[in-house]
C-alpha cells in the first residue's frame, strides 16, 4: 500500500478478486474480475490508447480514445451462455464501440483492441483532437513526451483535412505560483480537474465556455496553490500544463534519466532525475505503489535547486591566518586524520546529517569506532521538523532518520543538548560536522572558535564553514549512489545522476580517505561497494543486497525499533 491513499486504483484489483476468462484479441486469457479493460490489455502487452483515463483518478470517459469492440456471451433460450467446443461462451459483438476505461472484466467479456471499427474510431478522435490544436510542438516543453504526438504517430492518419480558422484560446495563463496553463494545447481530458479535486483536495479547476470553445480555467477567486500542483503537469497528456520551473529549460529528449529518490522528507518518494551534462533539470515522480504511488509534493520536486547554487563549496581547503586556502585532497585528508587522531576521543564529537545515506553513516560509524578505541565518541543528528500534510509529506524532513537510528549515529537530536553542554563547559576540543551547520543546529557559534579541531564536510556555505579549520566539499543526493530508510522502514536506493562538481567528492570517497589514513580497513569505494559490508555488520540490514533493493526498494527484513 502506498503511503498516500489514492481515490481509485483501477490498475490494482482487490486481492481476493476471482479470476475470470476474457477473450482478448482472439485468445482466452485469465484476469481478475473487475479489472479495467485498459489494464487487462496492458497486462498482455497491448496498448489501448487513452487520454482521460488515469489509474488513480475517477473515470471520466470524455476523450473517446479508448474505444474498443466489446463482445458478450450469446445467450441461449434458457438465458444461459451458449458454449463452444472448448467450453467457452460464444460471443456476440456489439455494433457500437465501447470505452475501455469504463469497462471492467467479467466472465466471457470479448475485447478487440484492433479492428477496422476500432482503427476508424482512433483515427477519428485523433483527427478531431488535432483540428484545433495549435501544433506548437517546436516550442512546446511536452514535445518528446507528448501523448498527442505519440498517438498521432501511432494511430493518426498523418494529414489533416481541417482548413477552417482554428479556435483561439488563452495562452500562458498563470493559474498558480508554480504552474502555467496553455488552453490552446489542452485536450480537455479533465485529468487536472480530477486530480485537484480528488487527490490534492483543492477543487479549484474547472471548465468554462461551451462546446468547441470549452477551456480549463481556475476559479476566479482562487490560485492553484496546492503543494501537489505540479503533479498535474505530469499527468497532463499534452503541454497544456507546464511547470514554471522547467518551462523552456531543456528539450526532454536530451535529459538523462536516473532512477532515484527524493530527499526532502522521510517519505522518500521515488523520482526520476532528469539531467544533462552535469546539471539536474528536473525531478519527476516515479511510480512506486509501496511509497508515493504516482505522485510527489512540489517542495520535494523543486528541492534540488540548491545543488547548483553559487554557494556550493567546490574546493577542499584549510583555514590559514588570512582565510581558507585550497589544497590537495590527499594532503588535507592526511592533515584531518592526523588532527583527529591527536584528540582525546572523549573530547571529539560528530554532528551528522540524517540526510546522509546509510553507507555514509556506516563509514562515519567506522571512523568513530576506529578513533574511539576503548572510550566513546559522541555522535548525533540534527532533527528537522515540518508539518505532515496527510498526503505524502512527512513531519520529519530528514530523509534518513531511520537509517541514522538503525546505524546508531543519532536519534532525533536527543543528545544535542549534551553536545552543547560539553562545548559550553569546554570539554570538547574537536567537532566534525557532516552536512550540518552546528550554528544552525543551536550550538553556540562563538564557542566554536575555542575548538582546536573543527572539520566541515558539506555542500553549501554556512556559518560553521566560515569557522572551520578544514573544509571537505561533499556531494549532493544527485551526485552519489547509496541507500536510505524511509519512514515506513523501506530501504531505497539513490543513484548517481551527475558527477560531483569541481573538486568536491562523494562523501563515501572522503570518509574512506580518512579511514585509510587512520589505518582502517578498505571499506569500499562507493555506496554500492560499502553496502555488503554494512548489511553483514548491521543486523537490521541482514540479508539485503544492493542489487536486490532494485529500483523499488525493499522493506527492512527484520522489525526494528
Amino acid at each position: 500500500m502506498a503511503l498516500i491513499k489514492n481515490p481509485f486504483d483501477h490498475d490494482l484489483p482487490p486481492g481476493d478478486a476471482r479470476l475470470v476468462h476474457v477473450h482478448l484479441d482472439g485468445e482466452w486469457v485469465e484476469v481478475p474480475a473487475g479489472l479495467n479493460v485498459i489494464e487487462v490489455a496492458h497486462r498482455f502487452g497491448k496498448q489501448i490508447p487513452h487520454y482521460c483515463y488515469h489509474p488513480k483518478l475517477s473515470i471520466s470517459g470524455n476523450c473517446r480514445m479508448c474505444l474498443f469492440e466489446m463482445g458478450m456471451p450469446r445467450l441461449g433460450p434458457d438465458r444461459k451462455p451458449i458454449l463452444d467446443g472448448d467450453g467457452h461462451p460464444e460471443l456476440q459483438w456489439m455494433p457500437r464501440p465501447q470505452i475501455a476505461c469504463a469497462t471492467t472484466a467479467f466472465p466471457g467479456l470479448g475485447i478487440r483492441t484492433t479492428s477496422t471499427l476500432v482503427e476508424s474510431c482512433q483515427k477519428g478522435v485523433m483527427e478531431f483532437l488535432l483540428a484545433n490544436h495549435p501544433l506548437d510542438c517546436p516550442i512546446c516543453d511536452q514535445a518528446g513526451e507528448c501523448k498527442l504526438q505519440e498517438f498521432a504517430f501511432d494511430y493518426g492518419k498523418g494529414r489533416s483535412r481541417f482548413v477552417e480558422d482554428k479556435v483561439r484560446k488563452p495562452k500562458r495563463v498563470d493559474i498558480g505560483p508554480r504552474i502555467l496553463l496553455d488552453d490552446e494545447r489542452c485536450i480537455l481530458c479533465t485529468r487536472c480537474i480530477r486530480f485537484a479535486r480528488e487527490l490534492a483536495g483543492d477543487d479549484c479547476l474547472g471548465i468554462t465556455e461551451r462546446g468547441g470553445y470549452n477551456r480549463i480555467a481556475i476559479h476566479p477567486e482562487k490560485r492553484f496553490t496546492s503543494d501537489y500542483s505540479l503533479n498535474t503537469a505530469d499527468i497532463c497528456p499534452v503541454g497544456a500544463l507546464t511547470t514554471k520551473d522547467f518551462r523552456f529549460r531543456m528539450r526532454v529528449w536530451f535529459l538523462k534519466e536516473t532512477k532515484s529518490i527524493c530527499v526532502d522528507c522521510a517519505t522518500g518518494c521515488n523520482v526520476t532525475i532528469g539531467s544533462r551534462e552535469g546539471t539536474v533539470h528536473r525531478l519527476t515522480p516515479r511510480v512506486n505503489e509501496a511509497v508515493n504511488s504516482h505522485w510527489m509534493c512540489d517542495q520535494g520536486r523543486l528541492g534540488f535547486h540548491p545543488i547548483h547554487s553559487k554557494h556550493r563549496v567546490l574546493e577542499p581547503a584549510r583555514r590559514e591566518e588570512n582565510g581558507l586556502f585550497p589544497g590537495e585532497w590527499s594532503l588535507l585528508l592526511g592533515q584531518v586524520a592526523e588532527a583527529l587522531r591527536k584528540l582525546e576521543p572523549s573530547s571529539l564529537a560528530f554532528l551528522v546529517s540524517a540526510r546522509l545515506t546509510n553507507e555514509e553513516l556506516f563509514l562515519v560509524r567506522s571512523l568513530r569506532d576506529l578513533l574511539a578505541g576503548e572510550s566513546a565518541i559522541l555522535t548525533e543528528v540534527v532533527p528537522r521538523k515540518g508539518q505532515a500534510d496527510g498526503l505524502l509529506r512527512s513531519d520529519d524532513l530528514n530523509p534518513n532518520s531511520r537509517g541514522a537510528r538503525i546505524l546508531g549515529i543519532g536519534a532525533d537530536g536527543e543528545k544535542l543538548s549534551v553536545l552543547r553542554q560539553r562545548i559550553e563547559e569546554g570539554q570538547l576540543s574537536g567537532l566534525f560536522c557532516l552536512h550540518e551547520d552546528a550554528v544552525a543546529a543551536g550550538l553556540p557559534g562563538e564557542l566554536l572558535g575555542s575548538l582546536s579541531v573543527l572539520v566541515w564536510q558539506g555542500i553549501l556555505i554556512d556559518q560553521t564553514y566560515e569557522r572551520a579549520h578544514w573544509v571537505l566539499p561533499g556531494a549532493s543526493f544527485a551526485e552519489k549512489s547509496g541507500s536510505m530508510v524511509n519512514r515506513a522502514d523501506r530501504v531505497q536506493r539513490l543513484e548517481r545522476a551527475i558527477p560531483a562538481p569541481g573538486r568536491s567528492r562523494e562523501d563515501v570517497w572522503i570518509l574512506r580517505g580518512l579511514l585509510l589514513a587512520l589505518g582502517g580497513e578498505e571499506p569500499g569505494q562507493s555506496g554500492p561497494e560499502v553496502f555488503p559490508k554494512m548489511a553483514a555488520t548491521i543486523p537490521a540490514f541482514h540479508g539485503l543486497t544492493w542489487a536486490g533493493l532494485g529500483d523499488q526498494g525493499q522493506p527492512l527484513p527484520v522489525e526494528v525499533r
Binding site: 473517446r64 478522435v125 483535412r161 480537455l188 462546446g211
Partner: protein, 460 residues
C-alpha cells in the same frame, strides 16, 4: 367544439392532454382545474397500490414523449423497490429545447395542474418523496406559473405530508436551467440539478434508474409523458392501450413549424393521421402555394425526409406476419414505429417543413450552428466535430465551397455518431448525414459555383 369540451375538428383531432388547454376561459388556477375534475385521479391513485399503478402504465403501452420513445412502464420497472434502500427521485424533464418542439410549454403555461397531478401519481407509483420539475431557463413565466400552481397544490394538501390522509408525503420543486439544450439530456439534467455543469454522464454505469440524482435511483420523464399517467389511471391501462395503434398507444402532440399555411400543435391518436393529412388538411398546405421539398419529422435531430421519397416499411400486419409495403412521405402514419422505419424518428414530435424555395445547405447550416453552440464540449468527437461541421457549412454558404466538402461532412458526421457520451452525438450528426446524402447535388453545387466564380474572375 363538442359538448364535452373536446376539441373536434374535421381532421379528427383528439385532445386528451390538451383537452382544456385552449378552452376559452380555462385558466391555470387550481379552482379552474378542480372544476374540471382535477385531482380526482390523484385520489384514485392514492387508493391503489403503487405497484398496481406501475402495472397499469405497463399495460397502457405508454412510450416516453421526450424523444426516445422508451416504454415508461419498463423504465419504472427498473427500480427494485424490495431491494432499494436509497431515496427515489422523480424528475420532470421540462427543458423542451429541441428546435421545432413547443408542446410541453402549452401544458405548463395553460394547464400546469395536469402535470402536477401526473407527477404526484407517478411519484407515488415510484415511491418517490421528492420530485423536481427541471424547466428550461428561458421559460421564466412558465416557472412562475408552476411555482404558483405548486403552492396552490400544497395549500390543498395535494402535496406535502400525509397527502389527502393517505400517509404519503411528497414535495415538488421547480428548478430553472440556465439555458442550454444539453440540460434536456437526462443525465446532463441530473448533473445540472446537482449544481454542476450539465455534462452528461457515461452509461454504463450511470443509468438514472440505478445511479441518478445524488447517485440514487431516479426516474426522468418528459412533461407530456407524465401528464399521460393521469389519464392512464383514469381509464385504466387496457383502455388507454386501445387508443392509437399497437405499440403507439395514446395520443401524441405534433408541433408543425416552417413553411405551412397554419403552423401549430395538434393532438392525435397514435398513427391516426398521415403526414399528408397533417400538412395539407390540418395545416392548410405549403405556404404561398409552394411545393414541399423536405421535412424533419421529430425535432431538429431527426433525419430529414425528402418529398417524393418512397419508403419500404416493414411492419406486422393484422395477422401478425411481417410484411413490407411501399409508402410515400405523405402516406406515413404519424407514430413512433413507421417514422422510424422510414429511416428517421418521430422523436419529440416537432415537424419542421421546408418548401421548394429553401436552400438545403442554408437550412443545414442553420441547424449546425445550433448544435455547435449547444454541444457541451465534454467528449472529443462532438465537441470538435460539431464546430468543424458548422465551419464547413458556414464556408459553403458563404460562397467558398469546395468539391470535397460534401464527403468531408459525411466523414465527420460518421466519426461522431455512436462514439460519444450522450445521444447529442447522433443529434448533431444525423441532420448532416441525411441532408448531405439526400440533397447531395445541392451541396456539390456550392463548390461548382465557386469554380465558376474563379473562371469568371479570370476572364474579366
Amino acid at each position: 367544439m363538442a359538448q364535452d369540451g373536446t376539441v373536434q375538428n374535421p381532421t379528427r383531432e383528439h385532445r386528451i392532454i390538451l383537452r382544456y388547454a385552449d378552452l376559452p376561459g380555462y385558466t391555470p388556477d387550481i379552482d379552474c382545474y378542480l372544476q374540471h375534475g382535477g385531482y380526482e385521479q390523484l385520489r384514485k391513485a392514492l387508493s391503489m397500490e403503487p405497484a398496481a399503478i406501475v402495472a397499469e402504465v405497463k399495460a397502457s403501452g405508454l412510450r416516453g414523449r421526450g424523444g426516445a420513445g422508451f416504454p415508461t412502464g419498463t423504465k419504472w420497472g427498473f427500480i427494485d423497490h424490495a431491494k432499494n434502500r436509497k431515496p427515489v427521485y422523480l424528475l420532470c424533464n421540462a427543458d423542451e429545447s429541441e428546435p421545432g418542439t413547443f408542446k410541453d410549454r402549452q401544458i405548463i403555461y395553460k394547464d400546469p395542474h395536469q402535470l402536477i397531478e401526473g407527477m404526484i401519481i407517478s411519484s407515488f407509483a415510484n415511491h418517490a418523496h421528492l420530485a423536481y420539475i427541471y424547466i428550461r431557463g428561458e421559460m421564466a413565466r412558465g416557472a412562475k406559473i408552476l411555482e404558483r400552481a405548486l403552492a396552490e397544490a400544497r395549500a390543498k394538501n395535494f402535496l406535502g405530508t400525509n397527502i389527502l390522509g393517505s400517509g404519503y408525503d411528497l414535495d415538488i420543486f421547480v428548478f430553472r436551467g440556465a439555458g442550454a439544450y444539453i440540460c434536456g439530456e437526462e443525465t446532463g439534467l441530473i448533473e445540472s440539478l446537482e449544481g454542476k455543469r450539465a455534462y452528461p454522464r457515461i452509461k454504463p454505469p450511470y443509468f438514472p434508474a440505478a445511479l441518478g440524482l445524488y447517485l440514487c435511483p431516479t426516474i426522468v420523464n418528459n412533461v407530456e409523458t407524465l401528464c399521460n399517467v393521469k389519464h392512464i389511471v383514469e381509464m385504466g391501462g387496457a383502455a388507454y392501450a386501445r387508443i392509437g395503434s399497437t405499440n403507439n398507444t395514446g395520443t401524441r402532440i405534433w408541433c408543425v413549424s416552417g413553411d405551412v399555411c397554419r403552423p401549430g400543435y395538434f393532438e392525435y391518436d397514435g398513427g391516426a393521421i398521415t403526414m399528408g393529412e397533417l400538412l395539407y388538411d390540418v395545416c392548410g398546405g405549403i405556404r404561398n402555394g409552394n411545393r414541399l421539398k423536405a421535412l424533419i419529422p421529430g425535432g431538429s435531430s431527426a433525419k430529414v425526409l425528402r418529398a417524393g421519397e418512397i419508403y419500404h416499411i416493414r411492419r406486422k400486419n393484422a395477422a401478425g406476419a411481417m410484411e413490407e409495403i411501399e409508402m410515400r412521405l405523405e402516406d406515413l402514419p404519424l407514430d413512433f414505429d413507421t417514422i422510424a422505419a422510414s429511416g428517421s424518428m418521430s422523436g419529440s414530435g416537432g415537424i419542421i417543413v421546408m418548401d421548394h424555395t429553401r436552400d438545403m445547405v442554408e437550412c443545414l447550416d442553420n441547424l449546425s450552428a445550433f448544435y455547435a453552440h449547444e454541444s457541451c464540449g465534454q467528449c472529443t468527437p462532438c465537441r470538435e466535430g460539431a464546430l468543424w461541421m458548422r465551419k464547413v457549412l458556414d464556408r459553403m454558404t458563404g460562397g467558398k465551397g469546395r468539391p470535397e466538402d460534401p464527403q468531408l461532412l459525411l466523414d465527420l458526421a460518421g466519426q461522431i455518431g455512436g462514439r460519444t457520451i450522450c445521444a447529442f452525438g447522433e443529434a448533431c450528426s444525423w441532420p448532416v448525414e441525411s441532408f448531405v446524402a439526400k440533397f447531395r447535388e445541392e451541396f456539390e453545387s456550392k463548390a461548382v459555383a465557386e469554380e465558376e466564380k474563379d473562371r469568371l474572375q479570370v476572364t474579366h
